[in-house]
Symmetry: C2
DNA sequence: CACTATTAGTATCGAGTCGAAACTATTGCA
DNA sequence: TGCAATAGTTTCGACTCGATACTAATAGTG
């Protein structure tokens, strides 16, 4: 019980300190989070709705964030031909640079023993899993671990969307992900 | 490297999901964080400046947060006699209830094996330590682990501030904390 | 095929955060 | 005595947040 409070405190504080220094540029923590997500999500998972669900936010808020990200040149809009309502956003070169940049938290992690990192990663995944099942939101897992994924000679194939995947795409996160 | 990005992602996402549901009442995540801090800090560490440093924020922002927390009745102001500039805030009964309430993250942690929790706690403390030394901010540790602390028959004593401490106070966090 | 329900995204509102900078009152120091 | 440092507040503009009301496109049903 007392442990739980301290763990929550630590997780929140780490994010807060990470965000505080992240304010620096012309981006705020939310905009940065959107960029980070876009850098890891596949091409079927880059709409305002998807981002909103991933971040536990709303379409309205995310729509605003995209507006200023487009204006600042971190992201470009791509409208779908099939469904004229749908929009998919893509990182520009600048956007990509920001998404993969170092920050206080990753610097702190850099000189941390590998074994400890694996443990930490596993624990955090577990906690996140418990939280997600609590409010039954999607896991946003990686393609290659999905029940609809098929490994092929030249990458992968998604049985759900009936689309072939390039090798690097099989390591991206997907809105439709379902654990086996 | 890739691990580091995922760890950051997980930590940020946990906070975000935790915060998202925390919006519910008439409190936002920042106000809640202030309340949580106040619930764990000792009487020498409850000023706007202290909170600002703990949260990696600024005095200006925290001042605003306190304004609305006072207005909503979660916190009361106490001016110091010795230094007429200084203010210390205290949780009201309602404030205390909120600070120790359950939330999505603690619920997720509840049915998590004890041993794993200890490991997670230790890892997170380590990462936080690395981050704090990076931007040389204070550790905000617990009194009993401080180099100025002395255990007495009826609680403790702070050699730095020359003040006796009640037993429960030796487990609170302090702005002045220094590791041995 | 038409009509309605659902879905995707946007606009607007009010409260609040954020850093930055300017400001007031008090205390400390020389 | 006088100036510097400190504690806290206020204001500014950009932005987040949930809520709500909105438009346009697609899906489902009769």
């Amino acid at each position: 019980m007392k442990q739980d409070l301290e763990i929550r405190e630590l997780i929140n504080r780490l994010t807060r300190l990470d965000a505080a220094t992240a304010w620096g540029g012309d981006l705020n923590p939310t905009q940065r989070a959107v960029l980070d997500y876009l850098g890891r999500a596949n091409r079927f998972s880059r709409s305002p709705s998807h981002v909103a669900e991933y971040l536990g936010s709303t379409r309205g808020t995310v729509s605003q964030s995209f507006k200023s990200l487009v204006q600042k040149g971190y992201v470009t809009e791509r409208r779908s031909k099939l469904d004229k309502r749908a929009i998919s956003f893509e990182l520009t070169e600048t956007g990509n640079a920001v998404a993969s940049a170092q920050n206080p938290l990753t610097i702190a992690l850099a000189d941390y023993p590998e074994g400890e990192k694996d443990n930490l990663l596993a624990s955090l995944r577990g906690v996140l899993g418990a939280m997600l099942s609590q409010n039954k939101s999607r896991p946003f897992g990686i393609c290659s671990s999905c029940m609809h994924h098929e490994t092929t000679s030249n990458g992968g194939y998604c049985r759900l969307l009936s689309k072939p995947l390039l090798p690097f795409e099989t390591h991206q996160i997907c809105y439709e992900h379902e654990t086996t």
